[in-house]
C-alpha cells in the first residue's frame, strides 16, 4: 500500500472510532448513563482528524464544548472520554469536566471551552508563548460559525495578526448556532473567511468533510505559521448529524439540506478516496470492525469503571492540589 493509502486508512480508522464513540455517547445519554448534556460531533470528524494528521504532537489544540472529536484525534482514548461523560473516576478530567470540557494535556489538547469564542484569545496566547520560547509549535483554535460574531473572535484575529503569531483559526461552519441559521444573523456570507481579510489574515473556505482537503489545508497553514508568516483562517464547511445538544431533533433544518449533507458524509468521502487509491473493500471492512471492537470495549470499560472519587471534589483548585481560601 502507498504511503498515502496508509495514512488515509489511519485517518479513516480514527474517524470511524469517533463516529462510534459519538453514537455511544448518544445511546448512553438515552439510557440515562450520561447526564447533563452532550454536543456530538458526528459529521465533523474530518475536521479534527485531518487537522490532527497535519500537526505535530507538540502543537496545541483548543476546542469547544463540541470537542469529543478533537480529544480523540489528539490521542485521548474513547474509553477515557466516555468515562468522563459517565462521571467516572477514570474519566479524562476525573469527573470534574464532563462532555463540554474534555481535555487531554498529554496530547497538548488544552481544553474544550464552553463560553462561545473564549478560547480564541487563549490559543493566541499559546501561539505567543511558542513564539517567545522559539519552539516552532503552532496553536490551533477550532470554533463554530456562531463564534465569529463574538468580540473575542475579533480581538483574537487582530492580535494574532499584528504579532504575526503561529496560530490557525479553524471555523467548523456547520451553518447553525444552536437552533438559528448563521446566515440569518451574520453580515457576511462566510462568517469566518469574510472577516479575515479585514485583519490582513489569509483565509480559505474548504470542504470540511474531505479529510484530505482538511489535512492539506492545515498543513499549509502550519507551514506558514512555523515559517513566521503568521495566522491563517480556515473555514471548513461541515454539518452535524445530530441536533445541537442532547436529543435535539434539529427540526429547524430543512429536510433536503439534511439529506444533501448526509450524502456527503466525511466517512463516505474518505472511503471513496480509499477505493480510488485501490484499497480493497475487505481492508476497509476490517478497519470498520476494528473500530467497532475498540468502541465496544471502551463502552464496557467505562461502564465498569469506578464512579468519580468524592475526595476529588475539593482538589485541583490550587497548584498545591488543595482548595483552601483562608488560614
Amino acid at each position: 500500500m502507498s504511503g498515502e493509502s496508509t495514512e488515509l486508512l489511519a485517518m479513516y480508522e480514527q474517524m470511524a472510532v469517533i463516529r462510534r464513540t459519538e453514537k455511544a455517547a448518544y445511546d448512553l445519554f438515552l439510557a440515562g448513563l450520561v447526564k447533563g448534556t452532550t454536543h456530538l460531533a458526528s459529521g465533523h470528524e474530518a475536521v479534527a482528524v485531518g487537522a490532527s494528521f497535519a500537526l505535530r504532537p507538540d502543537d496545541y489544540v483548543f476546542a469547544t464544548y463540541r470537542g469529543h472529536h478533537h480529544a480523540i484525534a489528539r490521542g485521548a482514548t474513547p474509553e477515557a472520554c466516555l468515562a468522563e461523560l459517565m462521571q467516572k473516576a477514570t474519566g479524562l478530567c476525573k469527573g470534574k469536566g464532563g462532555s463540554m470540557h474534555l481535555t487531554w494535556a498529554p496530547g497538548n489538547m488544552l481544553g474544550s471551552y464552553a463560553i462561545v469564542g473564549a478560547h480564541l484569545p487563549i490559543a493566541v496566547g499559546a501561539a505567543w508563548s511558542a513564539h517567545l520560547r522559539g519552539t516552532s509549535q503552532v496553536a490551533v483554535a477550532f470554533f463554530g460559525d456562531g463564534a465569529t460574531n463574538i468580540g473575542a473572535f475579533h480581538e483574537a484575529l487582530n492580535l494574532a495578526s499584528i504579532w504575526k503569531l503561529p496560530v490557525i483559526f479553524v471555523c467548523e461552519n456547520n451553518f447553525y448556532m444552536e437552533y438559528t441559521a448563521i446566515g440569518s444573523v451574520t453580515a457576511a456570507d462566510h462568517p469566518a473567511a469574510d472577516r479575515a481579510p479585514a485583519y490582513r489574515i489569509p483565509a480559505k473556505i474548504i470542504d470540511g468533510n474531505d479529510v484530505i482537503v482538511v489535512r492539506d489545508t492545515v498543513a499549509e497553514a502550519a507551514a506558514r505559521a512555523r515559517a513566521g508568516e503568521g495566522p491563517t483562517v480556515i473555514e471548513a464547511e461541515t454539518y452535524r448529524h445530530y441536533g445541537h445538544s442532547r436529543t435535539d431533533p434539529a427540526k429547524y433544518r430543512p429536510a433536503e439540506e439534511v439529506e444533501r449533507w448526509l450524502k456527503h458524509d466525511p466517512i463516505d468521502v474518505a472511503r471513496a478516496r480509499l477505493e480510488a487509491l485501490g484499497v480493497t473493500p475487505e481492508t476497509i471492512k476490517s478497519i470498520d470492525e476494528r473500530a467497532d471492537a475498540i468502541v465496544a470495549a471502551a463502552i464496557d470499560a467505562a461502564k465498569n469503571a469506578p464512579a468519580a472519587d468524592v475526595r476529588e471534589a475539593l482538589t485541583d483548585v490550587w497548584a498545591d492540589g488543595g482548595s483552601a481560601w483562608r488560614t
Binding site: 484569545p121 487563549i122 496566547g125 505567543w128 496553536a139 483574537a156 492540589g321 488560614t327
Partner: protein
C-alpha cells in the same frame, strides 16, 4: 550605616516586576501603553528599556485578548504579567477572570496550570469618576480559583509582586491608585512576602481594625487620633483577600475583643462580611461588642472630592465606628 533608599509605591510596581524578570526569563509583560509609554500610571517605567520588546509588549485595546493571551501563555510555560489599566475594565474581560482562568485547573482534573498575574490600578481617591475609581477586589472574591492581593506599601508591592509572579496560581494584583505617590523604604533584593500572611502594622489592645490597601493608612491615621483619646487600636493590613489570613485576625480579636473592618467596596458583598462571618462563628466568645464594618455607600463613586468623601471610608468614619464599639 547606609541609609535606606526611599521609593514610591508607583516605582515599586516596576521594581517588583523587574526583579522577577531578571531572575526568571519566562516572565513577560503585556498591556495597553505599558512598553514604550511605560504605563499610564508610570508603573512600568524602565521595563522595555531593560528587557526589550520580546519581554514587554504593548497591546491593542483588547482586554479579552490581553487576558486570554496571558492565560494561553501561562498554560504553555510562560509567566505572563498582564496589565488591566483600570480595574473597572475587568468587566469587559470578566469571562476570562470568572470562567476561564480560575476554572482551568479544576475542570480539567488538574491537567493545566495557569501561573499568571493580572495587575490593575484599583480604587478611588483620584477623582476619576464612577467608571475609573471602583475598588473591585470583592468582585474577584466570589470566584474560587483566584488569589487576590492588594498591597498598601512600596515594600509590600515588591514582596507581594515577587510571591504573585512566582505563584503557580492565578493572582489578581490590585495596585491602589490613591497610593501610587506614597513613599516607603525600598526592600532589599530577594524580598518576598508570602501570600496569605496579614501584617500587624500597629499593635493595640482595645480594638482590632482590619484594613486593606488604601484603607490601611486611613486606619492608621484613625488609630493615632484614637490613641490621643486613650483608645488603643491594633491595625491589621490584610494584604491578601485570598488566601485570607483569619488566623492573624482571630488571634488579634482574642486580645482586643472588638473588631472593625475598613473596606473601600460597597457594604454589601464586601470582603469584611466574609471575614466577620468567620470571626462570629469561630470567635463568638472572644467578642465583647458588635462588629462594625466601615465600607462605601451603595452608590457609584461620585466625581467631586466632597461627594466621594461622603461615600468612601474616611478617618472620621473609622474613629466614629471604633468609639461606638469601644463604648458599647
Amino acid at each position: 550605616m547606609a541609609e535606606t533608599e526611599i521609593i514610591t509605591y508607583r516605582e515599586a510596581v516596576a521594581e517588583g516586576i523587574a526583579r522577577e524578570m531578571r531572575r526568571d526569563p519566562t516572565v513577560v509583560c503585556l498591556g495597553e501603553d505599558i512598553a514604550a509609554a511605560e504605563g499610564v500610571f508610570k508603573t512600568t517605567v524602565g521595563l522595555l528599556k531593560e528587557f526589550g520588546p520580546r519581554r514587554v509588549w504593548d497591546t491593542p485595546i483588547s482586554e479579552q485578548a490581553i487576558v486570554g493571551a496571558a492565560m494561553g501563555a501561562a498554560m504553555t510555560g510562560m509567566r505572563p504579567v498582564a496589565e488591566i489599566m483600570f480595574s473597572d475594565f475587568f468587566a469587559v474581560c470578566w469571562d476570562y477572570v470568572a470562567n476561564e482562568i480560575p476554572k482551568a485547573r479544576y475542570m480539567t482534573g488538574g491537567q493545566v496550570t495557569v501561573p499568571l498575574v493580572l495587575r490593575t490600578a484599583n480604587g478611588g481617591g483620584l477623582g476619576f469618576g464612577a467608571q475609573h475609581s471602583q475598588a473591585v477586589e470583592n468582585w474577584a472574591l466570589t470566584i474560587p480559583g483566584l488569589k487576590i492581593v492588594a498591597p498598601s506599601t512600596p515594600a509590600d508591592v515588591i514582596g507581594l509582586m515577587a510571591a504573585s509572579i512566582r505563584s503557580d496560581d492565578p493572582v489578581i494584583f490590585c495596585e491602589h491608585k490613591g497610593l501610587f505617590a506614597s513613599k516607603g523604604p525600598k526592600p532589599p533584593e530577594g524580598h518576598v512576602v508570602e501570600l496569605g500572611k496579614a501584617n500587624i502594622v500597629r499593635e493595640g489592645s482595645d480594638v482590632t481594625i482590619v484594613a486593606l490597601a488604601a484603607t490601611v493608612p486611613t486606619a492608621l491615621t484613625a488609630a493615632e487620633r484614637l490613641a490621643a483619646e486613650g483608645v488603643s487600636a491594633e491595625v491589621i493590613d490584610l494584604r491578601c483577600l485570598i488566601p485570607m489570613d483569619l488566623t492573624t485576625v482571630l488571634t488579634s480579636v482574642g486580645k482586643t475583643s472588638r473588631l472593625i473592618t475598613v473596606e473601600e467596596n460597597p457594604h454589601q458583598g464586601g470582603w469584611g462580611a466574609t471575614l466577620v462571618s468567620v470571626v462570629v462563628d469561630e470567635g463568638f466568645q472572644l467578642l465583647d461588642a458588635p462588629v462594625k464594618r466601615v465600607a462605601s455607600e451603595n452608590v457609584p463613586l461620585p466625581f467631586a472630592d466632597t461627594l466621594e468623601e461622603a461615600v468612601i471610608p474616611t478617618v472620621d468614619k473609622v474613629v466614629a465606628a471604633v468609639k461606638a464599639v469601644v463604648n458599647f
